[in-house]
Amino acid sequence: MAKITIRNEIRFILNGRDVALPSVAPDATLLDWLRLDRSLRGTKEGCAEGDCGACTVLVGKLSAGKLVYESVNACIRFLGSLDGTHVVTVEHLRGAPGQLHPVQQAMVDFHGSQCGFCTPGFVMSLYGLWMKSPDPSNAAIEKALQGNLCRCTGYEAIMRAARAISSYGKAAKDPLAAERKAITARLEAMRDGSRVEIGTGRQRLVVPANADDFAAVLDKEPGTTVVAGSTDVGLWVTKHMRDISPVVFIGNLDGLCAISEDNDVITIGAGVTYTDAFATLAKRIPALGPLFDRIGGEQVRNMGTIGGNIANGSPIGDTPPPLIALGAQLTLRRGKKRRTIALEDFFIAYGKQDRQPGEFVEAVHVPVPAKGTKFAVYKITKRRDEDITAALGAFFLDLAKDGTVADICIAYGGMAATPKRAFGVEKALLGKPWTEATVETAMSEYAGDFTPLTDMRASAEYRALAAKNLLLRFFAETSGSKAPFQVSRNEAA
């Protein structure tokens, strides 16, 4: 490996200006830095856990050489993770001289603000959407706003404003669009291939130069906290005030953010965000599209990674059950050594995964379901969008020519201490004709497979009943019954 140069400062662009920070605490958040150090107080703290969107800013990153702006939650975004990016806050928005930006003017004219506290966050989310999609559908607007809470307006006025933005100006003439080339050049210039190291001892953060460098860093210091999207670790700091240092930031790391396809296996690098994985997964495994649309809000999807969702071992992570049902494999790496295991074997017990010190999740390999097989995933929550799973069921089915079940794999989240397969139910289905009678018999096996808990998201009784009923839904969907099978948000005009 080529010798890695070390740099002792974080560099990024804040609005118009280059910033170089030689001293950054490992747990310093972007929001506190903006508000307290820079007195940029247009960006608000509503919840400090990435759920309300009042702190939304845009972060421009170079992704395969292309400058992409994404909305993120500044409250749980670590300052140290911003190296080589362009941070855009509401203060940077402007229209023609002396005028508001089209997004802002539309919000004013359509009465999209009442108390105004959430408004800068909405403006930034809408701005991020408008840059990508100047004439968005209602569904696209709702999706872009899943991570923004407003308690006053009931959203209708904001939706009206969002639909009208393009009548106030052209996205192509927007300042950020005009500056795109210059910003790209400035960001390219910041990418010097260095490893960033700041601080010493326990107050230390590292941004590796690339995936290999990350492997070397973690191998040397196995106790380091690995932070990818910080949608989980961010809360360790803001909510639990846990000491997370030393930290290694691996978001947007070369060598960890690739998606590739080979022989109907999709390999997703551990640093790939939900947003970046969406296009490939939704196209190749269409059932995952609607699920991904309901993971977090847009800001969380722009930050959070599939690797992190697996590595943190949560029993209510949304990606492990469907990936287990699909028979995904996981590559773990320590230094230069790699091993590949079945994803379902990674989860040993609550809070315990098959990950050795110094080892990290490098990639997950997802088989694309063969033609003729059936695959579905259903997420149940209290609120439809941006909610954490109460129960989530994933179903993979292969029927033999005679209509019997040749292969079945059913995995659940929210039903046990880990993502877990319904072995008893599978056994009751395997080899049997795929009929409602078979399904009804199999439904009685759930009680043996799962003993769910009662908590604030759902009672044990509800989890057990709804989880069981999902099998019936899957049967109905795969057996030519009459739709509709689910309530849906999107068919309306």
Partner: protein
């Protein structure tokens, strides 16, 4: 305000008068991030930061409080406990002395503030707080009112009984009767800006406090009590809140009092901004209720007598639970005439945070109880609930047949327009034909069932404590003709400031941009009421109008004398004044008046006429008038999981002769969605240790943009006007739209009922989470099989 420009002296109409659609006065600042909330104010050098230490026992005596590690933590300057409160350790807003600033030897809920760390930075204060070692001797606790007897168990404040006629006899004599029980959940305000207070010490005993409060005068009084200094030493200011919804009516007192105590003790500015979790754990919420009801009715579904018990979870102290539970009873009729009624409240003591004001203030809970009774009767007699609703409506004032317009509190309903509201909505929402379409859909859909409901709203306007129905305003006209406006109302997003400014602009006949809206402060207008009970515009608009009229009167006298014309020849035209045959600019008249030493400042005042209330007798006229509306919602429900979506909602709501339809529309849309959230996904959940576990947006789910009805038609009725002389005949709009959300609960109930062929009342409790919906479906299926 619009850009400053010279006023148009030839205009036919002023720009920005009443009954025009003005944007929120701060909209351009909201969108550009330049609207200043308290946490955005520049911080004085040396400012300290406070963080509350919360109890980790639900009901206990404190046996030992070791704060040595807290005091030794980096950055910590002081740790305040109950003994540091120089005045009275009490912030009970009703004077019942049951709510300490900091708990002393006893804690009564999990999360009760027991100490307050003061440190150099907020971060240091937060970290230090966690180092406290507190030992408790546990006491028995109760968090759920389901475990209590509303007739026997401890109350936090005296209950209320309303009665008219002999309900027991009427029910007994009725051809049919039934009893039931309903659980109605509470609600977290989830204002986007959490609580915050900044106290800046002055000389002598003075403190200036910037407090995110709907009730600056109360903060002033509480701080003065806690400091043991007169009220005149305390000034409280608030330019805007990031949402209030009732959550900042009394709940800001604690933060303000502690910031002030620390500020005086250390002679430094002190800020306290709790994080979201502490805010949600340590401050009160909407009361949840258990409603027991008994109803007597005939075979046609005419209700003959009703008996209600409204038991409320009030928490450990009274706070506003008295008036909240009173208002629940005041709305247990909604739009219905109960021929004989008996209703009582039970404000129950529980070991939970003390519940408080929340948009509607108990009224929505009363109305939900009334609507449940309607549903029960409809299912019992096998009619569409809308038919039962309509046949039990109050009569109109012209209705001579039997006076079906007396409320349970003996006020006559004189302004009833619900018949027309509902008739128009029923037609525009196409209720009857959709009812048929839905029945056909349900017959052919195995898993997904649709439901439809139309629910009415009648909401009583005025504080039920008569003395709160007063307001003051301060109006200055400067020599350039520009106007400085101040009043006792607070701006929390509802558009009060712009509406009152419109009233003043209209009065002087000057463009709205000539009126500067200034921050609410106790130093300018004293002894104000909370901005609450939907009364902000009614009270402060009238007070400001009165202030402007005083000045206008003086100007008229002056002009008449100076120009030697009769008074009636002085006319205020847009941006100018016609005096006899000549016209001069308003600003020029002001200059002349100043030179002639005419007073150009006035303190306006208003008190609501006609209202009175005798709580002991349960009789009076607590409300000046009523506001009306109705909504119709259709939902789809997944009978396998209980998940649902709102397919369509139609609303017809009235605000009298609206001062600003754009602002009112926002209140209606926002109120509906907030009400829908309360009755659907917003669930407060305590664990078996008495800990609230839904204390952040990750666990407490308010509606998102994608929870809106897919089709959402909201119309302001353009024909009503207030039948009392309110400000420009407009009506209040803050709270009345909130219970429009009931139509979603009832549509869900209707969909659930379809699984048993509409033969069984689903008795769907609130919030109707997917879980409650599925469990109700299971219950109906089981009953259907039995």
């Amino acid at each position: 305000m619009n850009k400053h420009a010279s006023p148009n002296l030839k205009a036919q109409k002023i720009s920005g008068g009443v009954a025009t659609d003005q944007r929120h006065d701060s909209a351009h600042k909201h969108v550009s991030g330049t609207a200043v909330y308290i946490d955005d104010l520049p911080e004085p050098a040396g400012m300290l930061h406070g963080c509350l230490g919360l109890s980790t026992a639900t009901h206990a005596t404190i046996t030992k409080m070791d704060l040595s590690a807290v005091r030794a933590a980096p950055g910590v300057v002081d740790v305040l406990t109950a003994k540091d409160v120089p005045g009275e350790n009490d912030i009970s807003p009703t004077g019942r002395h049951d709510e300490p600033v900091l708990a002393d030897d006893k804690v009564q809920f999990y999360g009760q503030p027991i100490f307050c760390v003061i440190a150099r930075t907020r971060e240091e204060a937060r970290r230090a707080t966690r180092l406290a070692k507190v030992e408790y001797s546990q006491l028995p606790f109760v968090t759920d009112i389901g475990d209590l007897d509303p007739r026997k168990d401890k109350l936090v404040t005296p209950p209320l009984t309303l009665k008219r006629g002999d309900a027991a006899a009427a029910i007994k004599a009725a051809p049919r009767r039934l009893t039931g029980k309903m659980r109605i959940g509470g609600q977290e305000h989830f204002y986007l800006e959490g609580h915050i207070a900044v106290a800046i010490p002055g000389e002598d005993q003075d403190v200036t406090i910037y407090s995110s409060t709907q009730h600056p005068s109360e903060v002033q009084h509480m701080v003065s009590h806690a400091l043991g200094v007169p009220s005149n030493a305390i000034t409280v200011e608030i330019r805007r809140m990031g949402g209030g919804f009732g959550g900042k009516e009394t709940q800001g007192n604690q933060f303000a009092a502690l910031a002030a105590i620390a500020a005086k003790k250390h002679h430094r500015a002190v800020k306290i901004r709790p994080d979201r979790d502490d805010d949600m754990i340590a401050t009160g919420k909407r009361h949840d209720f258990l409603v027991d009801y008994e109803v007597g009715f005939d075979d046609d579904g005419n209700i003959l007598g009703v008996d209600f018990m409204f038991a409320a979870r009030c928490g450990f102290s009274s706070d506003l639970s008295g008036p909240v539970t009173d208002r629940a009873l005041f709305h247990c009729d909604n739009t219905y005439f109960w021929p004989a009624v008996h209703a009582q409240s039970a404000p129950l003591y529980t070991n939970t945070v003390s519940n408080t004001a929340f948009r509607g203030f108990g009224g929505p809970q009363g109305m939900v109880g009334a609507e449940r009774v309607i549903d029960e009767v409809a299912f019992a007699v096998g009619k569409d609930p809308l038919e039962i609703r309509k046949q039990n409506f109050y009569g109109t004032s012209g209705d001579k047949e039997g006076g079906r317009n007396i409320t349970p509190y003996h006020q006559t309903v004189e302004d009833n327009i619900i018949h027309r509201i509902v008739a128009e909505l029923e037609a525009s929402a196409d209720y009857a034909s959709r009812r048929r379409i839905i029945a056909a859909f349900n017959a052919n859909s195995r898993f997904i069932k649709r439901g439809l409901a139309l629910t009415p709203v009648k909401f009583g306007i005025s504080f039920t404590a008569t003395h709160y129905n007063q307001a003051g305003a301060l109006v200055h006209v400067y020599t350039d003709g520009s106007v400085h406006l101040n009043h006792g109302g607070t701006e929390m997003g509802q558009g009060l400031y712009v509406k009152v400014a419109q009233v003043v602009a209209e009065e002087f006949q000057i463009d709205l941009d000539q009126v500067k809206i200034t921050a609410t402060t106790t130093g300018k207008v004293p002894n104000t009421s909370a901005t609450a009970a939907s009364s902000g515009t009614d009270l402060n608009g009238m007070a400001a109008q009165n202030g402007a009229r005083q000045i206008k009167d003086r100007l008229t006298d002056f002009a008449a004398e100076k120009y030697q014309v009769p008074r009636d020849q002085v006319l205020f035209l847009p941006n100018r004044v016609r005096i006899g045959n000549q016209e001069i600019a308003f600003a020029d008249l002001i200059k002349q008046a100043y030179m002639a030493r005419i007073q150009l400042s006035a303190a306006g005042f208003y008190k609501t006429p006609k209202i009175h209330w005798n709580r002991d007798k349960g009789e009076g006229r607590p409300f000046y008038y009523f506001a009306y509306g109705a909504s119709c919602s259709e939902v789809s429900v997944d009978t396998l999981t209980g998940e649902y979506v709102v397919e369509r909602t139609d609303i017809l709501h009235e605000t009298g002769r609206s001062l600003n339809r754009a602002i009112d529309l926002g209140q209606i849309e926002g109120g509906f969605i907030q009400g829908m959230g309360w009755l659907t996904t917003e669930e407060l959940w305590w664990d078996d240790k008495g800990r609230l576990r839904t204390h952040a947006p990750s666990t407490y789910k308010i509606p998102l943009a994608s929870d809106r009805p897919k089709i959402f038609n909201v119309t302001l009725a353009d024909w009503p006007e207030a039948n009392e002389p309110t400000v420009h005949r407009s009506k209040a709009v803050g709270e009345p739209p909130f219970p429009l959300g009931m139509s979603v609960l009832h549509a869900l109930s209707d969909a659930v009922a379809s699984v048993a062929d509409h033969t069984i009342c689903p008795r769907l409790d609130a919030p109707a989470t997917p879980e409650r919906v599925l469990m109700a479906i299971e219950r109906l299926r089981a009953a259907g099989r039995a």
